[in-house]
């Protein structure tokens, strides 16, 4: 599988509704995950939906949002390839869909996104910590 073939596969899958994929060609396996999907809309620049993280808003608290891990893996604030690092300082203002960190599981890197414009209250995990599915990662308000 060469880079051209990989580009073609990704281009086709980008137009589908597939979130996770695994393609095998001649014994070479390509796995991937689309963390951002554009919902069908008259204006495709709107309504982007973060799929990499789930966010819950406990009913007991009116202004706290807990961002949970979408899968098990290892948490990192630094992208393993680009080395871009998210600041996890409490009190920082976040914009919607801002990357807070990544969960690495095997060859899959999943970004953790802020579900809305908010303030980062607390990071609940540490760099390189093993994270379980649905484990609380961040507290936002």
């Amino acid at each position: 599988m060469n880079i051209e073939q990989i580009s073609q596969i990704i281009e086709r899958l980008e137009r589908s509704t597939v979130d996770d994929f695994e393609v095998e060609v001649d014994g070479f396996v390509l796995r991937g995950h689309f963390s951002l999907r554009t919902l069908p809309s008259s204006n495709s620049n709107e309504c982007s939906m973060p799929l990499a993280a789930s966010a819950t808003k406990p009913s007991a608290s009116t202004d706290t949002t807990i961002v949970k891990s979408p899968s098990m893996g290892k948490f990192t604030a630094t992208h393993p390839l680009t080395q871009a690092t998210s600041s996890l300082d409490p009190g920082r203002n976040l914009v919607a869909d801002e990357i807070l960190g990544f969960i690495i599981s095997g060859t899959v890197i999943q970004p953790i996104l802020a579900p809305k414009a908010s303030i980062l209250r607390q990071c609940l995990v540490e760099q390189d910590q093993v994270i379980g599915y649905a484990q609380p990662l961040f507290e936002l308000s």
Partner: protein, 454 residues
């Protein structure tokens, strides 16, 4: 030799394995679904990790998720428990290929015994008695199938090679129904097991279900640990098991046990396993082998004093069995009642929050359960909430202890089958013993009613 065990299961068996790890000084790692985050095995294990949502397909049945968890937690071995992936040869092979130890037989042996046609052929070659039937899988030729059934004699049973545990089979009483039955079963087998192969056997009408527990190590040692009678069943699901199997000459059991141990050596078996037989008119007939630890293993542990899960783990660590066949000296009688979270009248599952959980005790009583006050019985998994085991010097003493234990057992918040067991333990056929696999269904049809406590 590994010193950490990832437990790819839940409920009481996960807790049982955690306890065995603790006894051996090994690190236990409980993996669990989101629905099981608060369960007992997760809280008492040395480490734990949530691997997915409640749906078993995305947690306990996901080979990828289990292996990812093993890598993340740096586990060196995987104990599959029973159910879920425990008899999945692809899973065992994936564990082996990942460089981890699968606590169970080699994957090729699971594959051999998972296909009922190849399993039967292997057992015939090892001299284990089998039911009269087709010589291998059916070819698809209707006339050939009719000839085989005619030579066996009706009624016959058409079985799926990939089936087991009572699934994928159809009884045929006359030649007129045979071809349709084969077509239907083949279609169901292809859909349910991914394997359309079928075979035919003589249908035994009033058999008992008797099984032999075995343990085999990687050094060529294989032993049998007596027989269990698991004939009290509803829709092929066991409700009560006991050991020894009464009314069968011990010499016959010994002969069968030795044949099973020899078969283990011949197929290269390793770990704990069970050979299941039907017993009718003084003859045993092999039905299948379970290549894992079974729900009812405590019955054998109580009469032999051998910790089967501990031995299973030690075998996987490469150690030889800690005892020989001559050391196996069963004593007394043990009975196990499976307590399910089900309505005892309708058998409808009864998930919910347990608001009261008081277990019985006293001499000869053992309870294996992951339940406690406030525990949640999840609607996502099987309904087994406890195994109540009673041991006595005699069967009568074991029955008496079980009756007392069942009267002490208090559960609120969910329905359980405790009241059904109370009634069964007073039923004349159960008290006498030696009943066939249809006994419970007959009792229910005749109006046996669960016995609620005042």
């Amino acid at each position: 030799m590994f010193d950490s065990v990832l437990i790819a299961n839940r409920g009481e068996i996960a807790l049982r394995v955690v306890r065995a790890c603790r006894a051996l000084g090994l690190t236990s790692i409980a993996i669990h679904s989101e629905a099981d985050s608060e369960t007992r095995a997760v809280s008492v294990a040395d480490r734990s990790l949530c691997i997915g949502p409640a749906a078993a397909a995305k947690s306990y049945l996901s080979i990828g998720h289990v292996l990812s968890a093993a890598k993340l937690m740096q586990a060196q071995s995987i104990h599959p428990g029973y159910g879920f992936l425990s008899e999945n040869a692809d899973f065992a092979e994936a564990v082996e290929n990942a460089g981890l130890t699968f606590i169970g037989p080699p994957s090729h042996v699971i594959r051999l015994m998972g296909d009922k046609v190849s399993a039967k052929q292997a057992m015939q070659a090892a001299g284990v008695p089998c039911v009269v039937g087709s010589d291998g899988a059916l070819s698809g030729d209707a006339e050939e199938a009719r000839a085989i059934a005619r030579s066996i004699g009706y009624p016959v049973i058409v079985k799926a090679a990939g089936g087991g545990g009572g699934r994928g089979m159809r009884v045929v009483h006359s030649a007129a129904d045979l071809v349709d039955a084969i077509a239907l079963t083949r279609e169901e087998a292809a859909r349910a097991f991914g394997n359309p192969s079928l075979y035919i056997e003589k249908f035994l009408q009033h058999p008992r279900h008797v099984e032999i527990q075995v343990l085999a190590d990687a050094h060529g040692n294989a032993v049998w640990l007596g027989a269990r009678d698991c004939s009290l069943q509803r829709r092929n699901q066991k409700l009560l098991e006991e050991s020894p199997a009464i009314g069968i000459p011990p010499e016959e059991i010994r002969k069968l046990g030795e044949q099973c141990a020899r078969a283990c050596r011949e197929i290269g078996y390793r770990g704990a396993g069970t050979f299941e037989f039907l017993y009718e008119d003084g003859h045993f007939a092999f039905i299948e082998m379970n290549t894992r630890v079974q729900v009812e293993h405590p019955v054998t542990e109580m009469v032999t004093g051998i910790d089967i899960v501990r031995e299973q783990i030690e075998i996987a660590r490469g150690k030889p069995l800690s005892f020989t066949q001559s050391d196996v000296a069963p004593h007394g009688h043990a009975i196990e009642c499976r307590i399910n979270a089900e309505d005892p009248h309708s058998f409808v599952p009864s998930p919910g929050k347990v608001t009261r959980w008081i277990v019985p005790g006293g001499p000869g009583i053992r309870v294996e359960s992951h339940m406690h006050d406030g525990a949640i019985v999840s609607p996502h998994y099987d309904s087994l909430v406890a195994k109540l085991i009673a041991h006595g010097k005699t069967r009568e003493e074991a029955l008496a202890r079980m009756r007392a234990a069942l009267s002490e057992f208090e559960v609120e918040g969910i329905h359980t089958t405790i009241a059904l067991h109370r009634a069964l333990l007073e039923e004349p056929g159960v008290i006498q013993g030696g009943f066939d696999i249809h006994h419970l269904e007959r009792c229910l049809a005749e109006g046996l009613s669960p016995k609620e406590m005042a």
